[in-house]
Subunit: 188 residues, 2 copies
DNA sequence: TTCTAGATTGGACATGTGTCCAGTCAGGTG
DNA sequence: CACCTGACTGGACACATGTCCAATCTAGAA
């Protein structure tokens, strides 16, 4: 039995996974997602590659987990603003700012989420659900489902384009302001 | 000097590249983009891997070229419809139908276009430009730039979600009808 | 202290990826 | 005909990826 009161949290496994996450972020910033390998992350975290692979099925899985955690840090925030337009813009601006603050992670996660890897597929759904929730909350109760879907799709599209380098994450915030306004126009 | 009047078109190189494209499509349908390798495509086309690599820098480059050609087949079509909404829906429906008809190619191209490969980056811009053109033509002259961008982003987002398997390409057509209507509402 | 279960490890393995290069081949040229 | 040139080829290379397993370590339980 574990001696720790909080089940599992203080376990050896939990400590190791934390070290791997931290090493992953550092490695991402320093060498980018192209050059990063699970082995390099393992080495930075001071564990063997075999150990790292017991935690992450693949490089893509690692990126997806890192992104999910990054997203979750911000999950409790309630969108601010007087009307739906302002609240939705608060959501997109906030996301864009956070992504701009971690460009390496943002660049890594876009291709990673497309992986057919089973662990990635699970996280992908969670992440998609989180986006949907945020927009739904910003819109309020009686929102037009087509409008909600338009927002989610436009946001996904912006993520994709930024991920491909067609626009920067800083641009993304501003451009989405206009796009959100255009979509919501006539949908009081 | 070449004996062929149409410069290069009848050259050996052009014939080989055609065979490689054809083999690539067959291989995609039969084994999917995961299992496909440049070597397997080369073998199917009856050329050596080394030869195939003189035409395509990577698997992703092959997918991007295949998709670009598939897109170009349809480039001259003028969007039909009385008003902007109908014309834009014609564009999205048409694309969705074509993608649904070649699911393996569609599944392959989404991750491929995210590659940092230089040849892919070139095609990515061309493909993005093509989408923009089609929506711009469907909207007509004096379109709101924010609306145009909203449409392109929503469409990109739909491609991404379908590419991830969150929706089918058949769904995509129907869902985009509603999304397009919602975006254009109030933008006569 | 001894035992035990879970965590970690080294290292080999099979596979894929893209590069490179010296050599061959075929068809048009002079 | 002999010659060239562009296309193609075989095969080796360096590297990354993810898997596997028997051996070892370590901290808490008895």
């Amino acid at each position: 039995m574990s001696t720790s009161p909080r089940q599992g949290l203080g376990s050896k496994r939990a400590e190791t996974v934390e070290r791997l996450f931290a090493a992953g972020l550092e490695e991402l910033d320093e060498v980018g997602h192209g050059a990063l390998t699970i082995r390099s992350v393992a080495s930075r975290a001071g564990v063997s590659p075999a150990t790292a692979y017991t935690y992450f099925a693949s490089k893509n899985h690692l990126f997806a987990e890192l992104f999910w955690r990054y997203l979750a840090e911000d999950a409790d925030h309630d969108p601010q603003g007087a009307d739906a337009v302002a609240r939705v813009q608060d959501v997109t601006r906030r996301m864009a700012e956070r992504l701009a603050a971690s460009p390496a992670l943002a660049a890594a996660v876009t291709p990673a989420l497309l992986s057919s890897d089973a662990d990635v597929a699970r996280l992908r759904l969670r992440i998609g659900g989180e986006f949907l929730d945020r927009f739904a909350r910003a819109l309020g109760e009686q929102a037009d489902p087509a409008v909600l879907e338009a927002l989610v799709l436009a946001f996904s599209g912006a993520l994709l384009q930024a991920g491909m380098g067609v626009m920067t994450y800083t641009d993304m915030g501003e451009r989405l302001d206009a796009v959100v306004a255009a979509i919501l126009e006539g949908h009081a």
